[in-house]
Amino acid sequence: MSEEKITVEPQQFKEVFNRLEAEVQKIIVGHEDVIRKVLIAFFAGGHVLLEGVPGLGKTLLVKSLSRALGVTFKRIQFTPDLMPSDIVGTQVLTEESGRREFQFKKGPIFAHVVLADEINRATPKTQSAVLEAMEEHQVTVFGTSYTLESPFMVLATQNPIELEGTYPLPEAQLDRFFFKLLVTPPSPGELREILKRTTGTESAAIAKVLPDDSGQLVSAMKHLLRQVLIAPPIEDYVVRLVHATQPVGSNGGNPAAPVKQYLRFGSSPRGAQSAILGAKGNALAEGRVHVSYADVEKVVYPALRHRIILNFQAEAENVNSDQILSEVIKQLPRN
């Protein structure tokens, strides 16, 4: 089946998307928003950083998602002694029919969905090994580049507490994540449901939503996502929104008071790209072929929260990125 022949209709996209959500939600209680955004990031071709305290089901969510997608899944537990070769692979001397030669042994990065668990526990050297894979969808070992499989998605998790002995991700690496999603503790009702599902004898099984050879279908869905219509005024709104996060207003612009007070750096252009692609994905997920202002506002937090760098005053006053972004959105007119 050639790629040109596969076309996905918006309605079909929505159906697949909703089925995926439903399958994951069979295992994961709550976190509907997180699941939706992870799926949006997957079809937008981005990577996701999940942040939350231990035991909230981050790893389970990723596993469930990969099972529902029916794609290959690998997990890497990041530790301080993890080496880059442990991730990307290495040359191994092999002997075959009397001939010795080096053969490349692929690391766990060669999978459709890679879970980089507790990514902030590895050294920066190891963390940076993932950078090329995330951005270029390829790895280079001993001068030879190896292309990663498509679709490729890195889902990294990090723990906001127990920061001793950790290596916080540098801004450059954070910027490569499409979304940063916050996994929050479950509500009492959700917790009750979790207990019901996990402490009984019944266990739910996840059905594969996508066919075995889903690469072309995923590509077609990705293509459709990029075709979603976006009006110039909405694009302009995203631009103004990202621009408003700059603490030093360029072109004579005057930044909002919280931005000036609490931000060291504003969002990069990748933030605007993520916001628009995320809004397109959200529109398709809701069965629309055009982006609305509401779509943008739904994805602007996960798209920008890790791209704006807080200053010392913000940390001292316990001000977080989401508070600043909500102020920016409040002060920015749509038209």
Partner: protein, 463 residues
């Protein structure tokens, strides 16, 4: 989408947005017109009132009207252009009204060539589904904006303040000349049928008063005659307005009566370019008319003292009144700067003032008597001499005389005898004065002349 639109008998989403843009443009136009209408009406009313009240002339009225109209048009156009609703605004309003989740804004602003036709078609049909929810006339009626009410209120307040301030400003209005006031009153009278004749006569009187060549007595007679007429008319008149108008004319004429020859004087004042409150108390070209000074007592003293000083220096009393007026102005300016003399100086000035005043009075009398003795200004020195047959004794016109004492006369004086030389012997026996080159005292025609020793270098010539 077209099929759907036809089925509902409706237009396409793009057409709906365009129609709303047109309607919003009309709204914007009326908004601006209604905001500017009250101030414009009040402005027209104020200018007309000012024109009818004689505050502004017809030319000023026309210029003001044209400028105001041009200005308002420019502002209207500018405001209209800036207030023009955009396509995206109209689409946004429809989206809000229909709950179309930004479908109309996307349709009306997106570039069709850059997007997938299938998706665009789908969006069009989705948007067409929202068309029945929007009725432009019903959903977007014209409403008066708050700015209109503010404008009306502001204009009314302005008109009220104008009405209140106009009479006050009338009292503050700079005093005009009597002929101007007469003309103004005549203009008002001309509007009333019963007073047209009187208005015409007042106009004629005003013209007569402004005539520089007219005799003063004639003018006064005309003024008095007019006063009588007005008094008669006032007695006859029954209407209060007309009586008031006649009263104004009478008071104006009374002012004219108190200012004899005012026409000429006012013209001169205006020619002089700011004579201010100071009026010359010097004789004018031999007429010898005295005028009151509106300056302070000190100023007056200083002015007269200055003038007597001039006389001491040998200037004629019948100088150019304009020049004198200028000097007075300068004096006034100096006074205004707070350049006050000290007490001892003031005493000296006082004595000078007294002498100056008497000198001035006498000069006036002389001016009246000897009107023909004007010195031709700027004439060659020969013309300053009296011609044969003319009054004088072959001396210089208006010159002052000094009796020169020769050494032998001084010697004779010391012996108690006077030399019987020259005409000074008979009638000019003055006090013996110290001989020096101090400035001569003011020239008094009847005063005895001083005696001075002839300077050595002139001895041979005078003998």
């Amino acid at each position: 989408m077209q099929v759907l639109a036809e089925r509902y008998g409706l237009e396409t989403p793009e057409k709906l947005v365009t129609r709303l843009v047109k309607r919003l443009r009309q709204h914007a136009f009326w908004d601006i017109v209604l905001v500017f209408l009250p101030p414009l009406a009040v402005g027209i009313y104020c200018v007309t009132t000012l024109y009818r009240g004689g505050w502004i002339t017809g030319a000023v009225f026309v210029i003001a009207a044209f400028t105001a109209v041009a200005l308002i048009l420019a502002i209207l156009i500018h405001r209209y252009q800036s207030a023009l609703p955009s396509l995206r605004l109209a689409a946004h309003l429809i989206d809000e009204r229909a709950g179309a989740t930004d479908r109309f804004i996307t349709l009306s602003t997106i570039e069709p060539s850059s997007c997938a036709p299938s998706l665009l078609g789908r969006l069009r049909s989705e948007a067409a589904g929202f068309l029945p929810r929007v009725r432009i006339k019903h959903d977007f009626p014209y409403k008066l904006k708050r700015s209109f009410y503010r404008s009306v209120l502001g204009a009314l307040v302005f008109a009220a303040v104008f009405h209140l301030l106009l009479p006050i400003a009338g009292s503050w209005n700079a005093p005009r000349t009597v002929p101007e006031r007469l003309r103004e009153i005549a203009g008002k009278m001309a509007e009333r049928p019963r007073m047209t004749e009187l208005a015409r006569q007042l106009q004629t009187l005003a013209a007569k008063m402004e005539d520089v060549n007219g005799a003063r007595e004639e003018k006064q007679a005309a003024v008095q005659e007019m006063q009588k007429k007005i008094e008669q008319e006032q007695k006859k008149e029954e209407q209060k307005d007309n009586r008031d108008l006649l009263g104004q004319a009478a008071s104006a004429l009374q002012g004219a009566d108190q200012q004899p020859g005012n026409g000429q004087e006012q013209q001169k004042k205006s020619d002089g370019g700011g004579g201010g409150g100071i009026q010359s108390n010097l004789p004018e070209k031999g007429k010898g008319e005295t005028k009151s000074s509106s300056g302070s007592g000190d100023g007056k003293g200083e002015v007269t003292a200055e003038l007597s000083k001039d006389m001491q220096e040998g200037k004629t009393s019948a100088g150019d009144p304009k020049e004198q007026g200028k000097e007075k102005n300068q004096q006034k300016v100096g006074e205004g700067k707070g350049d006050r003399p000290d007490a001892s100086k003031a005493d000296g000035d006082k004595t000078q003032e007294i002498s100056g005043k008497t000198q001035g009075e006498r000069e006036d009398k002389q001016g009246k008597d000897k009107g023909s003795e004007d010195i031709p200004q700027g004439a060659p020195p020969a013309e300053r001499l009296s011609r044969p047959g003319e009054e004088g004794k072959g001396g210089i016109k208006g010159a002052r005389y000094v009796t020169v004492q020769l050494p032998e006369e001084i010697a004779a004086d010391s012996k108690g005898t006077t030399s019987g030389t020259k005409d000074s012997k008979s009638n000019r026996v003055g006090p013996k004065l110290p001989v020096s080159n101090v400035p001569l005292p003011a020239h008094l025609p009847d005063a005895p002349t001083e005696k001075q020793r002839v300077p050595l270098e002139y001895r041979g010539i005078i003998r």
